[in-house]
Amino acid sequence: MAATVVTSANFEAEVLKADKPVIVDFWASWCGPCKMLSPVMEEISETEDSVKICSVNVDDEMELASNYGISSIPSLLVFKGGQLVNQSVGVITRQAILDLAR
C-alpha cells in the first residue's frame, strides 16, 4: 500500500487512531534529503504490513508540523496507540526506520 498523505483534517483518524504503529514522514518538495528518504518510505509501505507509513507535506501543513515541534526535515515520528513514542531527524537506513517502530 502506498504511503497515506496526512493533513490536519485526517491526522487523528489516520495516525492517532490507527490499529498498528504509524511512522509519519514530515517532508517538503524543496528538501533534497527528504526526497532521498521518500522512496525508502514508499518501499516500506509496500512491503511491511506491521507498520503504517504516512507523510505530511510541511509546506501544506505548517500548523501540524509546528504542533509536533518539527524544526528539521526529514523528521520521522512514530506513534503507537495515539502516543508519540519515538522520533528521528535526517536520512536513515531502511533498517533504522523499522527499528524506530519496534
Binding site: 533534497g32 510541511v58 528539521s72 536520512v91 537506513t93
Partner: protein, 303 residues
C-alpha cells in the same frame, strides 16, 4: 568477487564506479546512509561544468542511475573494516564480508559538530546543520549561525530573509568568506555580528533549544543569547578511523594521498573529500573518482 569495492556512494565513489565499469571492472559500492553524500543537501548546484543549474537531489539521482545502469552494484551496508591480504582485500560490513582485488575509500566528510554535551539531543529541536533545509521553521524567530566561512555567511543571509534576528557567532574578528558576501551581510539590519566568541553551551527549555552561551576568546567573559535556533556551519570533518590500518591519516583525519589517489598501500586508493587536498568541490570529487578508479584498474592489471 567484485574487482573493486568502493566505500561511499557520494560523487567521488559513484564516479569511480562509472570509470571502473567502463574499464571492464566490476564495481561494488557500499553506502551507510544515502547515495549522493553531502551534495543532496544543496538546493542548487551552479558550478558543475556544462550544467547551468541542477538540484543536489537530481544530480545525485542521475549519477546513481548512470553508475548502476553501467552495471555497478550499490549496497546499503556500512563498512566496518578493510583488511589488506596482499593481492586480495577483505571488506567487512555490518551485514557480511566481501573479497575484492582493490579498494577505493571515498568516505567523504560530514558536518563538523561543536562537540557540546547536549548538541546531539537538540538536533531537530533547535540545532541544525542545514539552514536551507530547516530555516523556514524559524520564520519570525531569533536564531544564531555559528561559523565564519562561506557557508556560515550564506546561511546567515538566507535566514535574515525569514527570521526576526540573526546572530552570527564567529571565533575570529574577521570572516574567511568572500568579501562581497560579508558586505551584503553587514548591510542587513536584522543581522548582528558576534565576533571573537565561541559557542560554549546550549541552553534548553522543555527539551528544545532556548539559547546559547558564548565565551569571549580574549577576555573569557561569558554571555547568553536567547535564540530558538542554532545553525552550525563550522565546516566538515572526515571519519576514517575504521581505516587507519590501511591508510595514513593526517591530523584532521583525512587520508593522506596525492592527486594520483594512491594511499601508499598497494591496491588501496582514496577519492573525494576524505582525501588530503586543497579544494573540496563536486568537480574535484568527480575528478578523484576517475583518477582512483583508473589507478585501481591498472593495479589489478598488474596482479
Amino acid at each position: 568477487m567484485a574487482d573493486i569495492i568502493i566505500v561511499g556512494a557520494g560523487p567521488a565513489g559513484l564516479t569511480a564506479a562509472i570509470y571502473a565499469q567502463r574499464a571492464g571492472r566490476k564495481a561494488l559500492v557500499f553506502e551507510a546512509a544515502v547515495y549522493g553524500g553531502q551534495i543532496v543537501n544543496t538546493p542548487e548546484i551552479e558550478n558543475y561544468p556544462a550544467i547551468k543549474k541542477i538540484s543536489g537531489f537530481e544530480f545525485a539521482t542521475a549519477l546513481y542511475e548512470q553508475a548502476t545502469s553501467l552495471g555497478a552494484e550499490v549496497k546499503m551496508e556500512r563498512v566496518i573494516s578493510v583488511t589488506d591480504n596482499g593481492s586480495s582485500k577483505t571488506v567487512k560490513t555490518d551485514n557480511s564480508e566481501y573479497e575484492c582485488k582493490a579498494v577505493i575509500l571515498a568516505t567523504g566528510a560530514k558536518n563538523r559538530t561543536l562537540g557540546l554535551e547536549n548538541e546531539k539531543a537538540l538536533i531537530g529541536k533547535g540545532v541544525s546543520y542545514c539552514a536551507t533545509c530547516d530555516g523556514m521553521f524559524f520564520r519570525g524567530k531569533t536564531v544564531a549561525v555559528a561559523g565564519g566561512g562561506n557557508t556560515a555567511i550564506e546561511d546567515a543571509l538566507f535566514l535574515s530573509n525569514y527570521c526576526e534576528k540573526v546572530y552570527i557567532i564567529h571565533r575570529r574578528d574577521r570572516f574567511r568568506a568572500h568579501e562581497a558576501e560579508v558586505a551584503k551581510l553587514k548591510g542587513r539590519e536584522n543581522v548582528e555580528l558576534v565576533l571573537n566568541k565561541n559557542v560554549t553551551a546550549l541552553k534548553e527549555d522543555g527539551g528544545r533549544l532556548c539559547g546559547v552561551e558564548v565565551t569571549d576568546k580574549l577576555t573569557g567573559e561569558k554571555s547568553e543569547l536567547a535564540v530558538a535556533g542554532l545553525f552550525v556551519a563550522i565546516g566538515q570533518a572526515p571519519d576514517n578511523t575504521p581505516f587507519e590500518n590501511v591508510a595514513t591519516l593526517d591530523n584532521g583525519g583525512y587520508i593522506v594521498a596525492g592527486e594520483d589517489c594512491k594511499t601508499g598501500i598497494a591496491g588501496i586508493f582514496t577519492a573525494g573529500d576524505c582525501r588530503t587536498k586543497q579544494v573540496r568541490q563536486l568537480t574535484t570529487a568527480a575528478s578523484d573518482g576517475a583518477a582512483a578508479a583508473l589507478a585501481a584498474c591498472s593495479y589489478i592489471d598488474s596482479l
